[in-house]
Amino acid sequence: MGWIDRISPQTLRILALLAVLALTVLFFASQIENYFNARLFNRVSSSVAIMALIACAQTLVILTRNIDLSIGSVVGFTAFATGSLVTNNPEINPLLLAAYAMVVGAGFGVVNGLLVAYARVPSIIVTLATMAIFRSLLVEYSDAKSITSDALPKWLVDFPNVPLFTIAGVELRAAFVTSLIIVLAVHIALSRLRPARKLFAVGSNPEAAEMAGINQKAVIFAAFVAAGALAGLGGFMFLARFGNITVVAGLGFELKSVAAAVVGGVAINGGSGSVIGALIGAILVDMIDTSLVRWELVSEFWREAVLGLLILTAVAVDAILMRRLIALRVRREKARKEAAK
């Protein structure tokens, strides 16, 4: 048996994604001057630190055959609420502040989870409604004020940009490292812990999961709450990085997070995918987005369309690669059986 028969489909998928990522970098490097350098890494990694957490949260929900469109509003609200708390209590313990952000986010997750899992309303409808409701709550809560970075404690504003390691100008900054650790922790939980594995069971075959004695409702509810908590943490990171929070904070993150997850190979019908994939998906989407701004051929009005097109291409290339590899495997399997006869 060759290597191609031994690697798991998940790993194959991630390898295919990394190939697409490399192709994208090569493409833009050929188009844009001074493109491929340490700065590119610093820019993309700082920006992805936030989206990685949100894409990871979205993945948890998508794995259970649901979707969370309210996630951008949750990020915006928690960023504002956390900023408001720390503005009024500058002496607050950093861990306590992060915990507060997660609790606020999880609170919104509870609302979504109850409506989807127990009231049995389709998640796309529930979260479409809560996206607007949570955003309106933020408008009401903010009272047209904004959080400004000079009212925040120095540790919070400085935290995202602290370089932990620097090699030849490439900086591994605190925010990015924190996000990486969290995504890895979620990945390990999803692949090793029995309760977390239930997300896959519910997503790939709800009836079978029910037969196997899995409480489907509880699993879906838990997925939304966990996603809310992660989105809350995303809101905390958002506050730390941007400092200036208005009611539009996190607008559009719902679609970006879905894009990152789907590009990262998370099946939109649930049951399969990984948060590592979603992380690479987030990196790919962010890099295409940042690079398009610098690509002179594309005007502002066409950027969104080109971004959409590139995402579709990335997904298509990934899907074709996967299909080819699986077909190849099936052929080899058959050939082996023939030979064994």
Binding site: S146, T148, V247, V248, V293
Partner: protein, 347 residues
């Protein structure tokens, strides 16, 4: 075109210096009942709330027994929401709708329907680009003079020459686009700006995160960039923060239109040495007086008509030099903030 611009500036100066210059100014009498709607681009932004405070002040002063509603869409629904609110207001039979237009010319059918239903449509802050469906525009400052002020700030910050770029709001924001065009015209009109090179215009969608990333992309694309000019309160703040975070404030400065309370720290630490803005409370106040005068029939809105807007003094209806066939009332002036006056203004 230039002649009109000069005329506008002169008119603004006249108003600033001698409020009593226009003898036959109409006094707006209060007490009549008119329901009115003040419609911002979207809810939750400080400057729009300040405009509402000004309008409420005028509402109380004129003792209007009707309602003044401050209604706006939520941020994710700005364009569709504005159209919906104008349509609903027309159906409810309000006397006047005051819009800071964020929907470009798409608002026109709804605005025309409101006019047909008997409402006066007064725009403020951001007009309807074609002027169709609008009775009058209350301009915060002369759009041409914003261009000159931005060009002058660029000149003084860069020390006379160098590359700079614009970080705007959305690509279809009528006011920002007009200001950028005015700045380009100002740059071309005078030889003293010859050393300045405008290398790019990018859009941050008035979102902190998008603006922040766009500002960094500008720095990466143009290694010799000296200044980012952001004619939006969200963009200027995000750009200043991005330059500060990356330790670039010494080489790349930020300027544009900003709120003193939000910009004070960046002005004092040198990241944004100079920026400008006008008073949004006054803008709301003047808009209310104009709309109330039109809705009660005390004003006709004809060119040359002069009236007294309470504490702010006299104003005259004039042709809008930037939009053919449209009319405006010019408020002005605006203030340029720097390290000397920003702290006082921020309080």
């Amino acid at each position: 075109m230039n002649y009109f611009k000069t005329l506008g500036l002169t008119a603004a100066l006249l108003m600033g210096t001698s409020g009593m210059a226009f003898a036959q100014a109409k006094t707006i009498a209060g007490g009549s009942e008119v329901d009115m709607v003040l419609l911002p681009k979207f809810l939750g932004i400080l400057v729009f709330d300040q405009a509402n405070e000004g309008a409420q002040e005028a509402h109380a002063e004129l003792a209007n027994p009707g309602d003044l509603l401050f209604q706006g869409p939520t941020p994710e629904n700005s364009v569709a929401g504005q159209i919906e609110i104008v349509t609903t207001a027309a159906t409810n039979g309000v006397g006047a709708v005051m819009i800071s237009n964020n929907a470009g010319d798409q608002i026109t059918p709804a605005a025309e329907a409101a006019q047909a239903a008997g409402a006066k449509v007064v725009t403020w802050d951001s007009p309807i680009p074609s002027g169709a469906g609008e009775d009058i525009f209350v301009a915060q400052v002369d759009f041409g003079s914003i261009g000159v002020v931005m060009a002058d700030m660029a000149l003084s910050i860069t020390g006379g020459s160098g590359q700079f770029a614009v970080l705007s709001a959305t690509p279809d924001a009528a006011n920002q686009n007009a200001w950028i065009e005015a700045m380009k015209a100002a740059l071309a009109a005078d030889a003293k700006y010859a050393g300045l090179e405008l290398v790019d215009v990018v859009y941050g969608d008035d979102q902190a995160e998008v603006s922040y990333n766009r500002a960094l992309a500008l720095v990466d694309s143009y290694p010799d960039l000296k200044l980012i000019m952001a004619p939006t309160t969200v963009g200027i703040q995000a750009a200043a923060k991005a330059m500060q975070d990356e330790g670039l404030c010494d080489t790349v400065k930020t300027s544009g239109l900003g709120l003193p309370s939000e910009m004070v720290s960046y002005t004092l630490n040198g990241c944004a040495p100079e920026f400008a803005l006008w008073d949004f409370r006054d803008l709301g106040y003047l808009t209310y007086y104009t709309a109330y005068g039109l809705a009660t029939g005390q004003l006709t809105g004809e060119i040359g008509e002069t009236f007294t807007a309470g504490r702010m003094g006299d104003f005259t209806v004039e042709a809008d030099p930037g939009r053919e066939g449209a009319k405006r009332i010019l408020m002005g002036p605006f203030t340029v903030y720097n390290a000397e006056n920003v702290e006082a203004a921020a309080k």
